[in-house]
C-alpha cells in the first residue's frame, strides 16, 4: 500500500498534521507503536495559552493556533457530528503575582504582549477576586487574558484522527516504526515497521519526546529531549474556579533550561468537575517514578493560590514527558539531510495549544502552499538542534 505521507506518532501533533494534510487532499497513514493519544497527549492539561509566551515566534504560532482551533472544531463537527465534542472552553486566563517583587515584571510582560496583539488586561489587585472569588487575598498584581482556552487533549486527538479516517486516511496502532528506506537519490521511499514496509513519498516525525530517537533511526538526528511533568487531579467540585489561574512565576519556569525541579501553580476546573493542578517541569530523562516532593510543591502552591482547596481530596496524579528542544522552540519543517523526512515536534508543554497551527503549517509546507506564518524560526537546521544532537 502506498501513502503520500506517513505520520509517525498518533499524539495531538501527529493527528493535527495528518488532519490538515487529509483536508488538503493528501493520502495519509498514521502509525503509532501504542494506542493513539496515550502518551504525552494523555498527560497534558489541555492548555491553549497565549498568556505564558513572550513576544517572538512561539507566541506567533500560539496566536495563529488560538485563531485556528474554533474553525478546526467547526470542521470536525461537520465531519463527525457529536463525535467532535472536545470540551473546548474559551474561559480565559488569570495570571496573578503574589509577591511585591513579582508584580511589576508581570505587568511589564503583559505590556510587551499587548504590543504584539495579545489581549492582556491588567486587573487591579483588589479586583482580582471579582474574577476568582476564592483567590488568596495576597495578590499583588493580576492580568486577565481573555484568549486563553482549554480543551480535552485526548478527545481532540481522537476526533482529529477519526476525521482523518473519514477522509480516507489510515490510522494504525501497535505498529512501531524502526527506520526509513531511501531510494538511490537518498530520498525517503518507505518506512520500516514492525508490520512490514509502508511505502510513502514523505514521512513526518511526530514522535514527541521520542522524536530524537526516531530522528536518529531515520539517519538525521535532532536534539529533542524529554522533560517530565506531573499534574494532580482532585475530586469533582461544584464550579469553584472559573479561569485558568496561575502564578506569574510559571512564565519563568516555562522558558527555563534548568534541570532542577520547577513548579508553579496552574489551577483550573474541568467540565466534569475535578480541578487540575499543574505543573512541574523536571529534566530527569525518561525516569517516571512519582516523587512526593514534586507533588508536595504542587499542592503547596495550589493551596497558596486557593486556600479553599486545602480540604479537597486529591484523587490521582498523572505524569508524562514533554518534548523540548534546547532553544525551546518547536521544530516544524523538512530535514535538509534526508529528502522526504519532516519533523513536527519539540512543542514541550504547549503542544495541545500549538497543534492546530502546526498541522496547518506542515500541510502548507508539504503541499507547496503559501505558509500562513513565517516557518523560518522553526526550521530543522538550527544550530541548537543540530549541534546538540
Amino acid at each position: 500500500m502506498h501513502s503520500d505521507v506517513v505520520v509517525v506518532g498518533a499524539g495531538v501533533i501527529g493527528a493535527a498534521c495528518a488532519h490538515a494534510l487529509s483536508v488538503a487532499g493528501v493520502r495519509v497513514t498514521v502509525l503509532d507503536r501504542g494506542a493513539p493519544a496515550s502518551a504525552t497527549t494523555a498527560s497534558g492539561e489541555g492548555n491553549v495559552l497565549v498568556s505564558d509566551k513572550a513576544p517572538g515566534p512561539e507566541l506567533d504560532l500560539a496566536m495563529a493556533s488560538r485563531l485556528r482551533w474554533p474553525s478546526l472544531i467547526a470542521s470536525l463537527r461537520e465531519d463527525l457530528g457529536a463525535g467532535a465534542e472536545i470540551e473546548w472552553e474559551a474561559k480565559g486566563g488569570l495570571v496573578v503575582a503574589t509577591t511585591e517583587a513579582a508584580a511589576q515584571p508581570l505587568l511589564d510582560f503583559a505590556a510587551a504582549q499587548r504590543a504584539v496583539g495579545v489581549e492582556a488586561c491588567a486587573v487591579p489587585a483588589e479586583r482580582a477576586r471579582d474574577f476568582e472569588p476564592h483567590l488568596t487575598p495576597s495578590v499583588t498584581a493580576a492580568v486577565h487574558y481573555p484568549q486563553d482556552a482549554q480543551l480535552q487533549p485526548v478527545l481532540a486527538a481522537c476526533a482529529l484522527l477519526a476525521a482523518v479516517r473519514k477522509r480516507g486516511g489510515t490510522v494504525r496502532s501497535g505498529v512501531a516504526v524502526s527506520g526509513v528506506d531511501t531510494d538511490a537519490a537518498g530520498r525517503v521511499r518507505a518506512v520500516r515497521t514492525s508490520d512490514g514496509e509502508v511505502a510513502c513519498g514523505a514521512v513526518i516525525n511526530a514522535c514527541g519526546p521520542w522524536s530524537g530517537a526516531f530522528s536518529t533511526a531515520a539517519g538525521a538526528p535532532i536534539a529533542i529531549l524529554p522533560r517530565r511533568g506531573i499534574v494532580l487531579v482532585t475530586a469533582a467540585l461544584p464550579a469553584t474556579i472559573r479561569h485558568k489561574v496561575y502564578d506569574a512565576d510559571y512564565v519563568g519556569a516555562v522558558a527555563s533550561g534548568d534541570a532542577d525541579l520547577q513548579t508553579s501553580s496552574v489551577v483550573e476546573s474541568t467540565p466534569a468537575g475535578p480541578v487540575l493542578i499543574g505543573s512541574s517541569r523536571q529534566r530527569v530523562g525518561f525516569t517516571d517514578h512519582l516523587e512526593v516532593a514534586v507533588l508536595r510543591e504542587l499542592a503547596r502552591k495550589a493551596v497558596a493560590l486557593f486556600p479553599i482547596l486545602a480540604e479537597v481530596p486529591v484523587m490521582r496524579a498523572y505524569g508524562g514527558f514533554r518534548p523540548y528542544a534546547p532553544d525551546h522552540l518547536p521544530v516544524i519543517g523538512p530535514d535538509p539531510r534526508v529528502p522526504g523526512l519532516w519533523h513536527a515536534t519539540g512543542h514541550e508543554g504547549a503542544g495541545i495549544g500549538l497543534a492546530a497551527a502546526t498541522g496547518r503549517l506542515m500541510a502548507e509546507l508539504l503541499t507547496g502552499a503559501q505558509p500562513h506564518l513565517d516557518p523560518a524560526p522553526f526550521r530543522v537546521d538550527r544550530p541548537a538542534l543540530m549541534e546538540a544532537a
Partner: protein
C-alpha cells in the same frame, strides 16, 4: 544495623509476614487501613481485640512489631536502597489524620484482593452488593443485608457468605454458582485441597438444613425495582456464560450478593514497578518480586485463600528479614498453590458475561458511563488503550478510580476493538488512597527508627 521491614496489609499474609520478620530480628511496622488486624478473612466484630485473629496476640505483644491500624499507604517511593512508605493515620474524613514516611529496607506487600462484581441491568440498585460487603456487614456488625437474599457468582467463597447471612437471620433464597461447582475440580486440586473439602461439606450441610438451594451454571442477569431491588431475573448459562434463552425465572428478593472471583489490590505493587503475570504479582520462591527488596504475599500473587496466604506471608517475612526460606512454610505454600491453580481452573470468569449488560447499563458507576457510551468511545474515538479509553469515556475516573469497573471495562472494550487493554494499566494509581490537598502540602514527620 537492624533491618527495617514494612508490611502493608494485616490479613493472614501480612500478620504472618510481620511475625516471621520480627522473629528473625527485623524491626517491623505493620500497616492496615482497618481499625484492627485480621483483614477480610478474619474480619472481627467492631471493637474486638486482636486476640481473635491467629497470631494476633503475639503480634501486639511482640517487642519488634509496631502496629499501625487505621492507616493508609497513599504512595510508595523508591529510595537509593529500599523504599519510603508514605502513610496517613486516622479517620479519612476526620481532622486529626497525621502523616508519616516509613523507611523500609524491605517491603512486604500483602494488600489482598477484593471481590469482583460484573455489570448486569439493575446491578446499581440499592440492595445489590458484593458478597464481600454482605459478609463484612454480617461479621463486623451482625447485620443482614436483607430478609430474602440471593447469592450469585462463582467460587467457593459464596458458601461462607451464605453461611454468614443465615447466621444473622437472613433467608438465603438461592445460591447460584455460574460454573460447574465441585465437578470442575481437577484431581490434583481435590488432593491438595482435601482439608477444604471438609469445610465445603460443612457449608453444604448447613445449606441443606436451612433448605437453601445451591444451583450450578445459573446466575442473576437482572435486578428489578424502583428505589431498591425487589426482584431478580436468574437464568441458566452455557459453558461460555451466555444466557440460555427460555430459562429465565423471576424471583422476589430484597437483596442480592454477587461475587465473581477476586481482583488483587495491585496499585502499590504497580507503583513499585513489580512485574505482573496474568494480572498477579510475579514472585520468586522467596516471595520477592521483580523489584529487589519488595516482597509480595497472599492474594496479590494469586487467589488461594487464607492458608496459602499465611504460608506465603511467613516466607516473605523471613526472607525480607534476610533469613533463608522456612521449609515448612514452603511445603505448605506449594500444596496451597496446587489447590489455588485448581480453583482458578474450576471457577473462571467466562467471556459470555459481556452479553448480560444492556446498552443503558452502567459500567462505571462513579462517572455513570453506560455500556453504550463505552462502546462509542472505544469504536468511534478509537480508544485503543486503557489511558485513552478512560479519557474519552471517563470510565474509571471517579471515586473508586477503576477498582470496580477497570477490569470489566478493559474486557468489554477488547470485545469492540482490536485494541490492547493491559489490565495492570487499570491498577495504575500512583496515589493509592485519596488525601486532602492540605495534607499533601504538609511536611511529613519522619520516623525516628
Amino acid at each position: 544495623m537492624t533491618r527495617r521491614v514494612v508490611v502493608v496489609g494485616a490479613g493472614p499474609a501480612g500478620v504472618s509476614a510481620a511475625l516471621a520478620a520480627a522473629d528473625a530480628g527485623a524491626q517491623v511496622t505493620l500497616v492496615d487501613s482497618a481499625p484492627t488486624v485480621g483483614g477480610q478473612f478474619h474480619r472481627q466484630p467492631a471493637g474486638a481485640g486482636p486476640d481473635k485473629v491467629p497470631g494476633g496476640s503475639r503480634l501486639v505483644e511482640h517487642p519488634r512489631v509496631r502496629l499501625l491500624t487505621d492507616t493508609v499507604v497513599w504512595t510508595v517511593e523508591p529510595l537509593h536502597s529500599g523504599h519510603l512508605v508514605h502513610v496517613r493515620t486516622g479517620q479519612a474524613d476526620g481532622p486529626g489524620r497525621h502523616g508519616e514516611a516509613l523507611t523500609a529496607d524491605a517491603l512486604v506487600l500483602a494488600t489482598g484482593a477484593y471481590d469482583r462484581a460484573l455489570p448486569f441491568p439493575g446491578w446499581d440498585l440499592p440492595g445489590v452488593v458484593t458478597a464481600g460487603a454482605a459478609q463484612a456487614l454480617a461479621k463486623g456488625q451482625g447485620i443482614a443485608i436483607g430478609d430474602r437474599v440471593l447469592v450469585a457468582g462463582t467460587g467457593p467463597f459464596l458458601l461462607p457468605v451464605a453461611q454468614s447471612l443465615v447466621g444473622v437471620g437472613a433467608q438465603v433464597v438461592e445460591v447460584l454458582e455460574a460454573n460447574g461447582g465441585i465437578r470442575g475440580w481437577t484431581p490434583s486440586a481435590l488432593v491438595a485441597g482435601r482439608g477444604k473439602l471438609a469445610e465445603l461439606a460443612g457449608y453444604a450441610r448447613l445449606l441443606a438444613t436451612h433448605r437453601v438451594p445451591y444451583r450450578t451454571r445459573r446466575t442473576v442477569i437482572a435486578a428489578h425495582g424502583e428505589d431498591r431491588v425487589t426482584s431478580v431475573t436468574t437464568a441458566a448459562l452455557d459453558r461460555e456464560w451466555r444466557v440460555k434463552p427460555g430459562t429465565e425465572r423471576r424471583l422476589p428478593v430484597d437483596a442480592v450478593c454477587v461475587g465473581f472471583g477476586f481482583t488483587p489490590q495491585l496499585e502499590l505493587a504497580v507503583s513499585a514497578r513489580c512485574e505482573l503475570v496474568d494480572g498477579f504479582v510475579e514472585v520468586t520462591p522467596t516471595q520477592e518480586t521483580s523489584v529487589p527488596g519488595v516482597f509480595a504475599a497472599g492474594e496479590l500473587t494469586g487467589i488461594g485463600g487464607a492458608d496459602l496466604a499465611a504460608a506465603e506471608g511467613t516466607i516473605a517475612g523471613a526472607c525480607a528479614a534476610g533469613q533463608a526460606i522456612p521449609e515448612a512454610a514452603l511445603r505448605k505454600a506449594r500444596r496451597g498453590r496446587t489447590f489455588a491453580a485448581g480453583l482458578a481452573n474450576a471457577y473462571p470468569v467466562r467471556p459470555g458475561w459481556r452479553t448480560w449488560p444492556a446498552d443503558d447499563t452502567l459500567v462505571c458507576r462513579c462517572e455513570e458511563v453506560t455500556l453504550g457510551a463505552l462502546r462509542t468511545a472505544a469504536r468511534e474515538r478509537d480508544a485503543l488503550g486503557v489511558r485513552s479509553l478512560k479519557l474519552t469515556s471517563r470510565v474509571g475516573l471517579g471515586l473508586c478510580q477503576g477498582r470496580v469497573c477497570g477490569r470489566n471495562a478493559a474486557e468489554l472494550a477488547a470485545g469492540y476493538t482490536g485494541g490492547h487493554y493491559d489490565p495492570s494499566d487499570t491498577a495504575r494509581r500512583p496515589i493509592a488512597a485519596p488525601l486532602r490537598l492540605g495534607e499533601l502540602a504538609e511536611d511529613p514527620e519522619k520516623e525516628n527508627t
